[in-house]
Symmetry: C2
Subunit: 277 residues, 2 copies
């Protein structure tokens, strides 16, 4: 079957994006993918051509979704949040109107196994499917921070399955702008905050250790599952390995449990030239 993947990025993440896509293709050899790339002027033409060639050589297709920055000229923007944050929230407007479903993926990710169980998830009347932080202290902080919105869980927006058909029916662009205008000072991770505050009951929760495994927290997952989620289970059953946080595995100073694995996929993606950024 053909799956729709949404990515949105600036030039700094073009190489990690390719590594993420390579891992997706490598571990899903039976599937065909259409990659929707949302971007504004930040992406260089040369990089776009290279990305296009790479995806085509892997037997998949790239669709450019160019967004003119002027579109957001009246939208609230400040130091904390840029226009790119709207891409995810408004994807239902920018993507082809016949698409019913798309899976958004951050570029700082490795796909380790078949993505089918995630992509084919029963959505019913959920607008999104995402994983939540299951650490209670973060949940409590966010509950307080985003009062009076009724937050039960705080979802991470790095892996986001979107029910586009339903979104087009019930979501309104102006609600988003209004929310941001009213809450500017409270917002830390704007797109994630909007998602959590505006649609708390409309997000289907996913198991994080399978669909959005935080690469920094190997021991946490292992210990909270009585050792069951060991390295063997991560490699065989975790679908999305997410390199959350400021330190990234393509940076020289990185050290972490999955460093060697990331570098392996990096070499598969760029057999000759090392990643420079």
């Amino acid at each position: 079957m053909r799956m729709n993947i949404l990515v949105a990025l600036d030039s700094n993440y073009v190489k990690p994006l390719r590594i993420m896509l390579k891992s997706l293709f490598f571990n899903n050899p039976q599937e065909k993918f259409t990659i929707y790339l949302m971007h504004s002027t930040l992406l260089k033409q040369k990089e776009l051509v290279e990305l296009f060639t790479f995806i085509k050589n892997e037997g998949n297709s790239l669709e450019e979704v160019y967004i003119n920055d002027n579109y957001f000229k009246d939208a609230p923007v400040n130091l904390h949040f840029s226009k790119e944050m709207y891409y995810r929230l408004l994807a239902f407007k920018f993507l082809p109107q016949n698409l019913e479903r798309v899976l958004y993926l951050d570029p700082d990710i490795l796909i380790l196994n078949s993505i089918k169980s995630l992509y084919e998830l029963e959505m019913k009347d959920y607008l999104y499917a995402a994983t939540c932080h299951n650490m209670s202290f973060i949940r409590e902080i966010n509950k307080i921070r985003l009062k009076p919105y009724e937050i039960d869980e705080y979802y991470n927006s790095g892996v986001l399955l979107m029910n586009l058909g339903l979104q087009r029916q019930v979501l309104h662009e102006d609600d988003i702008y209004e929310f941001i205008d009213n809450n500017q000072l409270k917002l830390i991770m704007p797109d994630q905050d909007v998602l959590n505050a505006l649609y708390p009951k409309k997000i289907k929760g996913l198991d994080r250790k399978i669909y959005n495994y935080d690469a920094r927290r190997y021991l946490y997952y292992k210990l909270t599952t009585d050792g069951k989620w060991n390295m063997d289970n991560v490699i065989r059953n975790t679908v999305v390995l997410h390199f959350c946080g400021r330190k990234k595995p393509w940076q020289e100073s990185y050290t972490g449990t999955f460093h060697s694995l990331y570098k392996h996929y990096e070499k598969l993606t760029f057999p000759i030239h090392a990643l420079s950024n």
Copy 2:
């Protein structure tokens, strides 16, 4: 070109052996291999058939080199060392007499890159090529331990390129037995000790961080190269990653820098069944 690989193992290492071979095939897609498997009665027939099928499906061939235990009935054997230790030392006798060269590899290894530079090494009048421990304290201990033999370096026998043509001309089985008889009490790692004591000038030294990288010592290699041998260089330039020591990456309790990478190759090798031993 066709390369000759020598492996020798008992049933406990059949699964790691397949993982090692998978990594060899995966990272050397241009080459064809003949795998010579030296074994005695320890290997189960079912395992041999599975191994044969696996290697054939990868486009390579397996040659069984069965060694009757009776062959060694007069050879010195004791608690410390078994008959299997002779396999490596006497490979020149057991392998087909037309083979000029073979590369012996331990099963607790991953091959990360092209093996060509190692296999095609100029041997001239060297009997072996191997990597040495470059830690001076180990070298000094072994010098004392194996006196009066003139040891400059202490070589590791886990990766051993053999000049079989020359070995047939100059090596004598009886010298090995005699040496062992005379030094029984001193020997710790018998095959390695024999190699180091009998042929110290006839072993060509190889760069360990490329051809026999000790997986426990990431920081050591990195620091002793002023940071040059970082994860990027290991993944792109190290050919043999060797999981030395008692703790092995297929064991539940293992933790180590290359754990995730090992498990990745394990899954490539055994997509369905996890490694049980």
